[in-house]
């Protein structure tokens, strides 16, 4: 879900930087108030582990495919929302700088889409309310806790991923990058991320449940008072039940989707005229580069030009992609090639 720089207009990128910057500032302030310098190495080590852990493939039972883990929920359940958010910020920065995953300008948007939703929304609206609720009382204290961890992780991952995917659509559409209508784009992104979210949620739950079994005190908001009571919760049974629910829901959704071919199909085949109208309205005035230099040199050009009377039907196109533009682009490519050749030549000379 990492957005590349190319998908954003500068104004949208700047807005997202301000939003993510504010969240980072608040988190730093809260962390400073806690005054626990020992937390910094823990955050760094956990962030590094989550970074590497996201590369592990987990086999999804019954299918040939595999899934990954969700970092935001895991970090905020272990470190708290603020520290988790900062760790995610750092992970995303490193991914962007060293692995080319995302982009320097899109970093603000990526932090918002993945870290903010994953840590703040995931923790305050999902993890904490569920962990503190009286749900699953019938399963005994420990069994209830486990069921709550599972529910919170799966719900958290699904909802935060949906929010993130929706934000990607919103940011890209606001940037005016894609011609894909908003509705169709949403219909394309959300279902894919629903499936991803469910799998990520289950993997994250498995890791958190392991931590709960061995060191429950590490988990935020987990009740560790009644540890001796044996629960009747089984991870395998729950995963099996959840898998059946997923299949049913997935099957139902796909039936619904094919029954109402709105979304993408409608946008692709039924709405072409509207798309045209929009495009025509958009670019009437903005463009067309007037080159004064070209005018003044007109007379000389008339004589020196290779193809003096060569005219194209759309040579006054708003895009600045007239024939001279095409020729010029080829020249630019030629100059680039020349730089490469010259660079190679000088380097060889230096070595010799």
């Amino acid at each position: 879900m990492h957005m590349a720089d190319a998908l954003l207009a500068p104004a949208v990128a700047a807005t997202m930087y301000v939003a993510s910057g504010t969240a980072t500032g608040i988190s730093l302030h809260k962390l400073k108030k806690e005054d626990d310098p020992a937390k910094l190495p823990t955050m760094a080590v956990t962030a590094a582990l989550v970074f590497a852990g996201q590369m592990i493939n987990y086999t999804i039972p019954g299918t040939g495919s595999s899934g990954h883990m969700c970092g935001g929920m895991l970090l905020s359940a272990l470190l708290g929302p603020q520290a988790g958010f900062l760790s995610m910020v750092v992970i995303l920065t490193i991914q962007c700088l060293l692995f080319g995953d995302g982009g320097l300008m899109a970093l603000g948007a990526n932090i918002w889409n993945m870290a903010f939703y994953g840590c703040f929304v995931g923790y305050y609206l999902i993890w904490r309310p569920i962990m503190k609720s009286g749900l699953f009382k019938g399963m005994g204290p420990k069994g209830g806790q486990r069921a709550k961890i599972l529910l919170a992780s799966v719900l958290g991952c699904v909802i935060t991923l949906q929010l993130g995917a929706f934000s990607v659509v919103l940011e890209t559409s606001l940037s005016g990058i894609t011609e894909l209508p908003f509705g169709a784009f949403v219909a394309l992104m959300q279902p894919i991320h629903l499936a991803i979210g469910l799998i990520e949620g289950l993997v994250t739950a498995a890791v958190l449940l392991f931590v709960f079994e061995s060191r429950p005190e590490l988990l935020k908001d987990a009740d560790t008072s009644d540890e001796k009571v044996k629960g009747k919760f089984s991870l395998k049974a729950t995963i099996a039940i959840l898998a059946v629910i997923v299949l049913l829901v997935g099957g139902g959704l796909s039936l619904l989707a094919s029954g109402n071919p709105d979304g993408l199909e409608w946008a692709l085949f039924g709405n072409a005229e509207e798309g045209y109208a929009e495009n025509m309205g958009l670019d009437e005035e903005d463009f067309g580069v007037k080159s004064g230099a070209a005018d003044t040199a007109g007379a000389i050009q008339e004589k020196t030009a290779l193809l003096p009377d060569y005219a194209f039907p759309e040579s006054e196109s708003p895009a600045g992609t007239s024939f001279s533009g095409v020729v010029g682009s080829a020249l630019v490519a030629g100059v680039a090639l020349l730089i490469c050749v010259a660079g190679g030549f000088f380097r060889k000379k230096k070595k010799a």
């Binding site: 955050m43 289950l202 080159s291 030009a305 193809l307 024939f323 533009g325």
Partner: protein, 267 residues
């Protein structure tokens, strides 16, 4: 080579590249950071149909690649992550925007095709810029530059510490994955019975080790301040290079050089 080993390889490759000694490597880091941000901002500000105008901006990274001697091969390898999403978004443009904007050799090219190409070029140029920054600047020097821009020390220290530990953790997990797969031949990923314990065990061990790490940091004189790389002061030369570069970007932004060059030959 599994995914994690590839990531380790990529990390060490970036480290090696950044340790070079070309004139670009010697430029001061805050200047390079500013130039990169300005370049990306200028690239992004081009409209979706201004393909020819944007093409001239390709010259800048090409020049930098040549002066710095950074290999282009590993840059293309990095494109595999960025391009798919950009292409997925841009691929629909030709379907929706069919207005013919330019005719080349009798073949009409629609606005959608041009905007798709513009989008892809934007993706490549932006990645080139940040790749060149990282390939010519070691991460600790960049962190020191971030501090100069008043990015909070806690965040920068966290960035540097995490970076150091990413190598350790990725190596550990790569070994674990290798060992797991040797004992479970023919299996694609981690079996559901080990979903929690596989990462969980390493997680618990690492969180314990973080405590020892903090103690050792204290013993070495850590006092909530981190000493970054020795920072080379920015000279007037660095300033001039930065200013000239930014002025060049603005010039290329407002004046379509490709169009002008073409105009000399075609009327």
């Amino acid at each position: 080579m599994n995914k994690m080993e590839k990531a380790l390889h990529e990390l060490s490759e970036m480290d090696e590249l950044a340790a070079g000694a070309s004139p670009i490597h010697r430029l001061c880091a805050p200047g390079k950071l500013l130039t990169t941000i300005a370049y990306i901002a200028v690239v992004l500000s081009f409209h979706k149909y201004e393909l020819s105008g944007m093409l001239a901006l390709l010259l800048y990274p090409v020049l930098l690649f040549q002066i710095s001697g950074v290999s282009v091969g590993s840059f293309f390898y990095k494109l595999r992550i960025v391009l798919p999403l950009v292409m997925a978004v841009g691929l629909f443009n030709p379907f929706f925007d069919r207005q013919i904007l330019v005719t080349v050799g009798g073949v009409g090219v629609s606005g959608g095709v041009i905007s798709m190409l513009t989008l892809m070029l934007k993706g490549v140029l932006c990645l080139m810029a940040s790749y060149l920054l990282m390939a010519t600047t070691p991460i600790d020097v960049l962190c020191a530059a971030l501090r100069k821009f008043h990015i909070p020390g806690t965040l920068v220290t966290l960035l540097l510490l995490t970076y150091r530990y990413i190598g350790v953790m990725t190596e550990e997990l790569a070994t674990m994955t290798e060992a797991y797969h040797l004992r479970a031949p023919g299996q694609k990923g981690i079996h559901v019975s080990a979903w929690g314990s596989f990462l969980g065990q390493l997680l618990l061990r690492s969180m314990d080790r973080a405590e020892e790490l903090y103690n050792s940091m204290l013993l070495r004189g850590y006092h909530q301040h981190f000493h970054y790389a020795p920072v080379k002061p920015c000279t007037w030369k660095d300033g001039a290079v930065t200013l000239c570069s930014i002025a060049l970007f603005l010039l290329l932004r407002f004046c379509n050089v490709a169009e002008l060059l073409g105009g000399l030959f075609v009327r």
